[in-house]
C-alpha cells in the first residue's frame, strides 16, 4: 500500500508516545487526559450566559458553576485548546490542513455531515451519562486500572462492533 496513510507514524509508536504522555500527565497533575469535559464547560457557559437562574437551579449545571471561577476556566478546556493547536501543527507539517468533508465515496457529503451530527449528539449525551469519554473515562481509567475505565472501554467498543453492521453503508 502506498496510500496517504504512509505519512502517518506507526500506530505502535503513536500509542507508546501517547502512553508516555499519559504517564507524564499523571506524574504532573495526578489526573489523566480528557476531552468531553470541554464540551460540558462550553454548554454550561452558554446556558449560564443565556439564563443564569436556569443554570443555578438545574441539578446538573449547578454542579459546575461557582462564584469565584468562570465555568470555562477548567483544566480540560485549556487542554482541548491545546489539542486543537497540536493537531493543527501536526497536520500542517504533514500537509493535511484543508477544508474538506471526509466520507466514503459511496455516500454524499450531506449524509456524512448528518451522520457526524447524530454521532456527536449521542457521544455528547453518552459521555455525560458515563462520566467521561474514550480519553477521560476509558483510556485514563485503564491507565490507573480503574474498573470504570475497563467497563467504559468494553461498553464503547463492544457496542461499536455489535451495531457496526447496521451502519456499514456509511463506511464500506
Amino acid at each position: 500500500m502506498n496510500d496517504k496513510s504512509n505519512k502517518y507514524i506507526s500506530p505502535y509508536l503513536g500509542g507508546f508516545l501517547l502512553g508516555l504522555l499519559l504517564l507524564v500527565t499523571f506524574f504532573i497533575t495526578g489526573r489523566g487526559l480528557g476531552a468531553s469535559g470541554a464540551t460540558k464547560s462550553t454548554v454550561v457557559t452558554v446556558v449560564d450566559a443565556v439564563s443564569h437562574s436556569h443554570a443555578t437551579e438545574s441539578a446538573y449545571y449547578s454542579k459546575f458553576i461557582s462564584d469565584d471561577k468562570h465555568p470555562m476556566n477548567t483544566w480540560l478546556t485549556f487542554e482541548v485548546l491545546g489539542i486543537l493547536a497540536g493537531a493543527f501543527l501536526s497536520g500542517a507539517l504533514a500537509g493535511r490542513v484543508r477544508f474538506k468533508t471526509e466520507h466514503s465515496p459511496k455516500i454524499t457529503s450531506k449524509t456524512r455531515l448528518l451522520a457526524a451530527a447524530g454521532g456527536g449528539i449521542l457521544f455528547g449525551f453518552g459521555s455525560q451519562l458515563g462520566r467521561g469519554c474514550t480519553s477521560g473515562a476509558a483510556l485514563s481509567g485503564m491507565a490507573t486500572l480503574s474498573t470504570a475505565g475497563f467497563v467504559t472501554m468494553l461498553a464503547i467498543f463492544g457496542t461499536g462492533f455489535i451495531v457496526a453492521y447496521f451502519f456499514r453503508k456509511l463506511w464500506i
Binding site: 496513510s5 502517518y8 500506530p11 505502535y12 503513536g14 500509542g15 501517547l18 502512553g19 504522555l21 504517564l23 507524564v24 504532573i28 497533575t29 495526578g30 476531552a35 468531553s36 464540551t39 462550553t42 446556558v47 441539578a59 483544566w75 478546556t77 485549556f78 485548546l81 491545546g82 486543537l84 493547536a85 497540536g86 493537531a87 493543527f88 493535511r96 484543508r98 474538506k100 471526509e102 466520507h103 466514503s104 451522520a115 457526524a116 454521532g119 456527536g120 449521542l122 457521544f123 453518552g126 455525560q128 451519562l129 458515563g130 469519554c133 474514550t134 473515562a137 486500572l145 480503574s146 474498573t147 470504570a148 467497563v151 461498553a155 457496542t159 461499536g160 455489535i162 451495531v163 457496526a164
Partner: protein
C-alpha cells in the same frame, strides 16, 4: 515525589499553561497517528484499519505499566492519583450510547477535535452535535439522575473486581494486547486489499 501539582511541588497557578502544553502534545500525537480521519477510526469496526486498537491498547499498557512501576519505585504517590469512580449503570449505559455514536459519527470527542483542527467540516459538525447531546442530557438530568448515580462502587480497581493482584492483571493485559495485535494484522491483511484506498 509525584504527582507534582497536588503536592504543590509545581505551583497550581501553572495549571492552565501545563494543560495547554499537554493538550498540544496530545493533539500532535493523535493527529500524527491518523486519528483526524473518521474513515481510519471507523476501520476498526469493519476490519480494514486497526489504528484505533493499536494506538489505544499500546497507550493503555504503556501508561498502566509506567504508573505501576513509578508507584513501586516510589516516584509517585499512588494514593494521590485520581481513580475515576465506578458507577456501573452509567458506565455501561453511557458506553453503549457512545459506542453507537462512534460508529455513526466516526469520531470521539478528542479525535473530532483533531479533525476540526485540520479543517475537517465533519469534525466541527460532530463537535456541534456533542454540545447538543450534552445540553439534552443536562436538561433531562432529573429523569436520568437515577441511572447516573445507581450502582456506585467507588474508585475500585479492575483487578480487585476480578480478584487478581495488580501485576498479574497487567501481565494478562499485555498478553491479550499482543494477541489482539496479531489477530488484527491477520484480519487487516485479508480485508484491506479488497478496498479502494482512501
Amino acid at each position: 515525589m509525584g504527582p507534582l501539582i497536588p503536592q504543590e511541588i509545581i505551583d497550581p497557578q501553572w495549571n492552565s499553561v501545563i494543560a495547554l502544553l499537554i493538550g498540544m502534545a496530545f493533539g500532535f500525537i493523535l493527529e500524527s497517528s491518523g486519528f483526524s480521519s473518521s474513515r481510519k477510526l471507523a476501520g476498526v469496526f469493519y476490519g480494514y484499519d486497526f489504528v484505533v486498537l493499536k494506538v489505544f491498547f499500546t497507550a493503555a499498557i504503556t501508561a498502566a505499566l509506567g504508573l505501576y512501576y513509578f508507584d513501586y519505585a516510589g516516584w509517585i504517590d499512588g494514593d494521590l492519583l485520581y481513580i475515576n469512580p465506578t458507577y456501573l449503570t452509567g458506565a455501561i449505559a453511557g458506553g453503549v450510547v457512545m459506542g453507537i455514536g462512534f460508529v455513526l459519527g466516526g469520531f470521539c470527542p478528542g479525535t473530532s477535535t483533531c479533525a476540526a483542527a485540520i479543517g475537517k467540516i465533519d469534525g466541527w459538525v460532530f463537535w456541534g452535535g456533542m454540545l447538543v447531546g450534552v445540553f439534552i442530557f443536562s436538561e433531562f438530568f432529573p429523569l436520568l439522575q437515577e441511572a447516573y448515580t445507581s450502582n456506585a462502587l467507588g474508585p475500585i480497581r479492575v483487578y480487585e473486581s476480578l480478584g487478581l493482584n495488580a501485576s498479574t492483571f497487567i501481565m494478562i493485559l499485555i498478553v491479550v494486547a499482543l494477541a489482539a495485535f496479531y489477530v488484527a494484522s491477520m484480519i487487516q491483511k485479508k480485508i484491506r486489499p479488497k478496498r479502494v484506498e482512501f
